[in-house]
C-alpha cells in the first residue's frame, strides 16, 4: 500500500498543517496504514514545510511509530511494573514461543505483530495483554493458547 496523497492531505489539513501537530499527524497516518510509509514522511515534511530530518527524527524517536508494516492482529504485552511483579515476562515468553517471533516482530504470514508496552493503565488486572483494542486481564502462560485460538 502506498500513501495516497489526498488521504494524507485530509489528515494534514485537519491540523491546519501546523508543525506543532507533527506527532498527532503521524499518529493518524500510522492509524490509517498500520505503519508510516516512507513516502508519507517525505510528503508530511513538504506540506508542513519542515526538514525531513525533523520528521524522520520524530518518527524514529517515539516508540509508537513504526517504519515497518505491522501485522493484522496486534498483540501488546504490558511490561509495566504492576504486570511485571505478577509475571508478565512469562506471558511474553510463551507468546514468543507460540508465535515463533520475538517481541517487536511480525509473523511471516503478516498475521501477528507482537509488541511490549509499558503500562496501559489497567494495572489492577495485571498481567494485561491488549489484542488490537481488547484488554485481557490476569493473563498466564496457560491462557495464551486460548487467546491465540480465539481468532
Amino acid at each position: 500500500m502506498t500513501a495516497n496523497e489526498s488521504k494524507l492531505d485530509s489528515i494534514i489539513d485537519e491540523y491546519n498543517a501546523e508543525p506543532g501537530s507533527l506527532i498527532s499527524i503521524l499518529q493518524d497516518i500510522q492509524a490509517k496504514y498500520n505503519y508510516l510509509p516512507e513516502e508519507s514522511l517525505e510528503y508530511v515534511a513538504q506540506r508542513l514545510d519542515i526538514s525531513r530530518v525533523q520528521v524522520f527524527g520524530v518518527a524514529t524517536f517515539f516508540k509508537a511509530f513504526s517504519l515497518k508494516p505491522k501485522g493484522k492482529q496486534q498483540i501488546h504485552v504490558c511490561m509495566g511494573t504492576a504486570c511485571h511483579v505478577r509475571g508478565s515476562k512469562k506471558v511474553l515468553e510463551e507468546l514468543e514461543r507460540k508465535l515463533e517471533i520475538k517481541a517487536g516482530d511480525t509473523t511471516a504470514d503478516g498475521e501477528y505483530t507482537l509488541e511490549t508496552v509499558n503500562c496501559v493503565g489497567a494495572c489492577a488486572l495485571g498481567p494485561v495483554v491488549v489484542e488490537n483494542e481488547e484488554y485481557h486481564g490476569e493473563m498466564t502462560p496457560i491462557k495464551v493458547e486460548s487467546l491465540l485460538n480465539s481468532k
Binding site: Q27, V58, T81, C123, L125, Y135
Partner: protein
Amino acid sequence: MKVTSVNELEAIRSEILAGKDLDKPCIAVCGGPGCLANQCLEVRDAFVNEIAAKGLTDKVDVRTTGCHGFCECGPIALIYPQEIFYQGLSIDDIPEIIEETIINNKTVDRLLYTDDKAGQLVETEGEVPFYKKQMRLILGNNSKIDPHSIEDYIAIGGYSALAKVLGGMQPMDVVDEIKNSGIRGRGGGGFPTGRKWESTRNAQGDIKYVICNADEGDPGAFMDRSILEGNPHSVLEGMIIGAYAIGSNEGYVYVRNEYPLALKNINLAIKQAREAGLLGDNILGSGFNFDLKVNRGGGAFVCGESTALMASLEGKPGEPRAKYIHTSDKGLWDRPSSLNNVETWANIPLIINNGADWYSAIGTESSKGTKVFSLVGKINNTGLVEVPMGMTLREIIFDIGGGIPDGKAFKAVQTGGPSGGCIPESLIDLPVDYDRLTEVGSMMGSGGMIVMDEDTCMVDVARYFINFLMEESCGKCVPCREGLLRMGEILTDITEGRGRMEDLDLIQDLSEVLKDASLCGLGQTAPNPVMSTLKYFRDEYEAHIKDHKCPAGVCTELITYNIDAGNCTGCGLCLKKCPAEAITGETKQPHVLDTGKCIKCGICYDVCKFDAVRKE
C-alpha cells in the same frame, strides 16, 4: 446550552437539578479500564435491554461512568439513590437485579461485597472497607456523573469555582488562594503549584501558556487516566482558572496515545465547554478569553519531563534541556508556560470552592490535601485509592488494600515509579507525604504503589527499573545513557548468577555519578530503585552473588524445576502442557522432569493441582 454570565450558570444549574428526579433509580455502571477488561460494556447493555424489556425505560436511568476505584471487583455497578454496591457482575445477573432491586426494592445478596473480617455482607458503597477510610474528593465524583455530559458535571456544582473566580476575584487573589492552600504538584516533584503560577504570571511576555501533563508514563499508575476519562471537566475547569490567574489565553493538554478513551473524553469535554461559553472568547461574559488544544504523545517516558514535553509539543523529538532557565520564563516556543499534572489541575476547583483554609487543613505540615494512589501488585484490593496525605502505609495497604493475597508475607512497597524506591516492611508505619517518602529513599512520584510479597525478587525489580529507564533514556547525556547501560548489565549478571561482590560497590559509584551528572530528572533519580533495594535488601543481592540462589524463586537462571514423586498423581497435565517436552511418565505413575530439556517456563508449576512441581 450557552452560559453568558456568571449568574446565569446558577440559573442553569437549578434548571438542570429541577429536571432531575433525585429519587429516580439510576444504575451507574463503571466503564473504567479495569472493568472494561471484564466486559462491563456488555453488562451495561444488558441493563439497558432488560430495563426496556420491562417497560421501565422512562423510570430508570443507566449511566456509564469512569473508574470507581475498586477495580479488583469489576464489573461494578452502583444503584442510586440507595448507593447499593454490586460487584463481579455478569450479564446473567442483570434480570435479577432489575427484578429484585429496582422493582421489589430488595438486594441481591450474592452480588454484594462480603467483608471477610466482619464476616458479613455490606450493602452500600460507603460501608465497603475499601472505601471506608478513603477521602474521595477527586475520585468520588466519578460514579456520580456521565463523563460525556456537561450537564451532569454542572449538576454536581461543576464550573461554580470558575464562576466564583470570574465573578469577582482578581488574578492575584486566585494565585494567593492556591499558594495559601499549600498544594504541591501531583506529577512527581511536588513543586508548590501557587509559586509556579506566580512566577509564570510575573514572567515577561504577551503570550503565556498553561499545559496539562497527561502523559502518565509511570508504569503501574493510572490515576490521571481515570480522572481524564471519568471527570474531564474538572481538569478543564482547573485549567481555565489557572489560565485566568496566570494571564494565559492558550493552553494544551498533552495526552498519552495509549489512552484512547481519555483522549475522546477530553476532546468531547472541550467541545461542550466551548459550546457552553466556558471556553473561547469572553468566558461567562467576563471579557476573559481562553482556549485549549489537545496533543497526543508518542509513547516515550521522557516526554513526561516538562522541557521534553514542551519540545514534543513543538513537533520535535522529546529531549529534555537544561533548566537553568525555568519553563515559567521560557517554556513552549520560548514563552512563559505553566505545566501541571492532571490531578493537580483537578484539585484547583476544590480549593477555590472551599477555600485555602479548608484545603490546608487536610494532610500534613508539608503536604496538603488528598493524594490518589494506584494500589497494585500483590495486594487483595487492587485499584485507585484516595486518602489524605499522611496516612500510613499500613493503613493504605492493610486496612484499605486488605493485605496480601494467598496468606503470603508482605515484603515491600515500591512508590514513585522509576524515580522512586522500595520501602521495606520495617517502615510500614511511615506516614505518606512528599518529604517522608524522600527521607527513606523513595519518592511520591505520580502515586503508583506496587505491593510486593515474598515471591518478588528485589534484585529483579531493580534490574527491571534500570532496564526500563535505559530503554527510555533519550540518550542525550553520557552518564544517563552509558551509566544505565552498565548498571543494567551488572544487575543482569547478578540475576543470572554471574555477579561479583565488587559489583555492588560499582553500582553504588555509578549511582552517585548519575545522580550528580545527569541533565534531567530521569537520570538524576534513576538510581533510587537500585539504592533503596541495596540498602534494605542487601541480603538478597548477596544470596544471588554468593550462593547463586534467588530466594524469591524469580530469576530463571538460578532456579530449577522438579517433580516431587510423592505428590505426583500422574495426572499428565504438566506433560501435556510442557512446551519443551521435558516431562515424561505413564498415566497414574509419578512423572519425571528432565532439567536438561526444561526451558523454565513455569507452566508445569502453574498447572499442577497437586503441588507436585517444585521450584528451587
